[in-house]
Symmetry: C2
Subunit: 405 residues, 2 copies
């Protein structure tokens, strides 16, 4: 199951950024599961990783390589997360970098490894290494769709976003931003999603690029939750090849961030729309908060409440469960008599109780939609925040009960 | 579904404490749904209530009455929670106290009201009030079983615990402690469970009784979670009638607390065993923590992880999900290489990775049990904490998707 029927977008190639995908057979024979990405020599790179203390071996290796070198290659496999694999996992992640580096004549520190899939199984290294030359052979600027498919696990569809914009109205030059993401369960990223790779041909120095990444991640991948579980492998990489020749500086930075945010939100929302067992796409919007922290506390408590999520699955406008979740979110001195709640524009709660104008029929009609917005007004401040989530269905339980079998 | 097959225990009557139950027809005609409890005149009472900001009208009224008077009657209805009902809800809760007080010749402030059931529906007051005399008529010290049935909602069975102990080896005198509880969803009590009523014939002053209640609640009802949702109506009342003539003082207080804790743990665990859709009873034990707060953080994060809970439902020893939950629990400077995990005595993780001795067969065998203990050692301190929870099944989703229909 998944929500929304938007077709896969046109993926504009990014000059200076190539992708090569092959089927190594890491978990399933014949499935695309190994992707190499090649960055033009002068690219800048920014990345964010999971904050889970049990982060996977490739996350540790990527962090270390990034701290001393600018990457030339990204190496991604699906089917095996290389997480919970101890010392051997680190050696394996290192060895995959060594092999690709040797093939391409760069140093191993210029390769960043990424893995996603089952936790706790040893990585089938021979299978992975044997397939490397085929992935390299396939490197091409026009190969985004194959790569988007090559990084999936329980996802039911590939996720991509791409746009071009004209930074200067007086000129014909365009900046391209194109990216892919994956993930549909164990999703509550904390600084990154399961996996995301975004490239632009803008020229931007590493510090400014990192600043841009932080800004947009906090409004996209860090605002989604399927099941409140943060993965051990979450990684998100943003590459700027500079091939367009257009430089991002303080004058056009905000414009760049706005465009970048659009791509990031599209990629993050695509993960929610493909959430495990999802039949609803739900935006939980909180306004009138004193600060961002309390707005997010309320939004996440509602978005992660199993009782709210099962009511959503049943299209049941059970607003009592929404109120109960708001009430336990830990907002200090919350005046419940000022709280109001709307479901897709239908006012269901005002002054802390059922709205006088509310009818079950109106609530049912609002809940029948596939896209639901739960709008909560705390009416005590001016800050607002939005998080996106899914409903909780039988299908979620089935997928996660059967994942390893 | 529910776990465990222990028969309903023998309920020793508590001298000075009577219970009367009837079928008012508040939600379902013919179902026991109205309970009155009568306390001997010199009883002492301690109570704890939900910390949900949206607490129900009867919780507000009970708190207020307790602050000025010692209760003589408890009035409990199921079928309607009288929560999210605004000003009218308060008036209704007050009116039910007035009516019982008038019937029994006490002041309305000597009655505490309790409600459980659907949130947000107006209380059918005429139905409730009409049935009051029948409940009063039924008052009897031997009527614990009827009362245990009369407070249920989605519970599949009544929950009771009862014991007698001899406070002084040299004497034949006994102290009795008997209690009932209800709840199987929206369960993460914070200071109390959905509903619990425990009485003893010990004589104990109100302050010491309250102290005892705090001690045992923190080791029982405040250590369980079905779905992380804290109810708006959680209330727990402990009554000491003094009818045994045995006084609890500083000398025999610890002994009393030990016995009381046994009754409380049994009642709290009964809620978990009857958790919505539960097929497993799961103890999450964390030791080697620096303090209680971090032990509980880890225990709750594991106990509430949808991915851990669905793996439990499938009897899948998916220890990677347990590690991932430990890793995101927010323990500062956690050295993952010191973490070990056992499932029912089978060591599955040591030094942060799969234990050398571990086999899938051993893991499968451990997970096949109905009672599962997940034991997590952080190996950084000496504090340990345990919480109890259930698995997450299709049945949980079905019950909560269909609750109002």
């Amino acid at each position: 199951m998944a929500t929304g029927t938007k077709p896969f977008p046109t993926m504009h190639p990014v000059a200076g950024f190539k992708l090569g995908t092959t089927s190594a057979g890491i978990k399933t024979v014949g499935r695309k599961d190994l992707v190499v990405m090649a960055l033009a020599p002068d690219s800048t790179v920014a990345a964010v990783f999971t904050q889970n203390a049990f982060c996977a071996a490739p996350v540790l290796v990527s962090r270390q390589h990034l701290s001393t070198h600018t990457p030339r290659y990204l190496l991604i496999n699906t089917g095996n997360a290389n997480a919970g694999t101890g010392e051997q996992g680190l050696l394996d992640a290192q060895r995959s970098c060594d092999s690709l580096a040797e093939l391409q004549g760069v140093s191993a520190q210029q390769v960043l490894p990424f893995s996603t899939g089952v936790i706790g199984e040893p990585m089938p290294m021979q299978t992975l290494l044997t397939a490397l030359p085929a992935a390299v052979e396939a490197l091409d600027e026009n190969a985004w769709v194959d790569a988007a498919e090559g990084i999936l696990t329980t996802d039911t569809r590939a996720k991509g976003a791409s746009l071009q914009y004209r930074p200067n109205a007086a000129s014909a030059e365009l900046i391209t931003i194109t990216g892919i993401s994956k993930g549909s369960g164990m999703i509550k990223p904390n600084m990154a999603t399961m996996l995301g790779f975004v490239a632009t041909d803008a020229e931007i120095d590493a510090e400014l690029l990192h600043h841009a990444l932080q800004r947009v991640v906090n409004k996209s991948f860090n605002r989604i939750t399927v099941d409140s579980d943060t993965s051990t492998n979450d990684s998100l990489v943003l590459v700027a090849t500079g091939a367009s020749g257009i430089t991002i500086d303080e004058c056009n930075f905000e414009q760049f961030v706005t465009q970048l945010e659009q791509v990031f939100i599209e990629l993050a929302q695509a993960i929610i729309r493909d959430g495990e067992g999802a039949t609803k796409f739900v935006a939980v919007e909180v306004d009138g908060a004193l600060d961002s922290a309390e707005a997010l506390k309320v939004a996440y408590t509602v978005a992660e409440s199993p009782l709210v999520k099962t009511a959503l699955a049943a299209s049941d406008a059970n607003w009592g469960r929404i109120l109960a979740a708001v009430g336990r979110a830990g907002v200090e001195n919350l005046d419940v008599s000022r709280v109001s709640v709307s479901l897709n524009q239908v006012l269901i709660v005002e002054a802390g109780g059922r709205a006088a104008s509310y009818t079950e029929a109106a609530g049912e009609q609002a809940m029948a939609a596939e896209d639901i917005s739960i709008h909560i007004s705390l009416n005590r401040g001016t800050v607002e925040e939005t998080v996106w989530t899914t409903d909780l269905t039988y299908e979620y339980v089935r997928i996660n009960a059967e994942y390893r079998t």
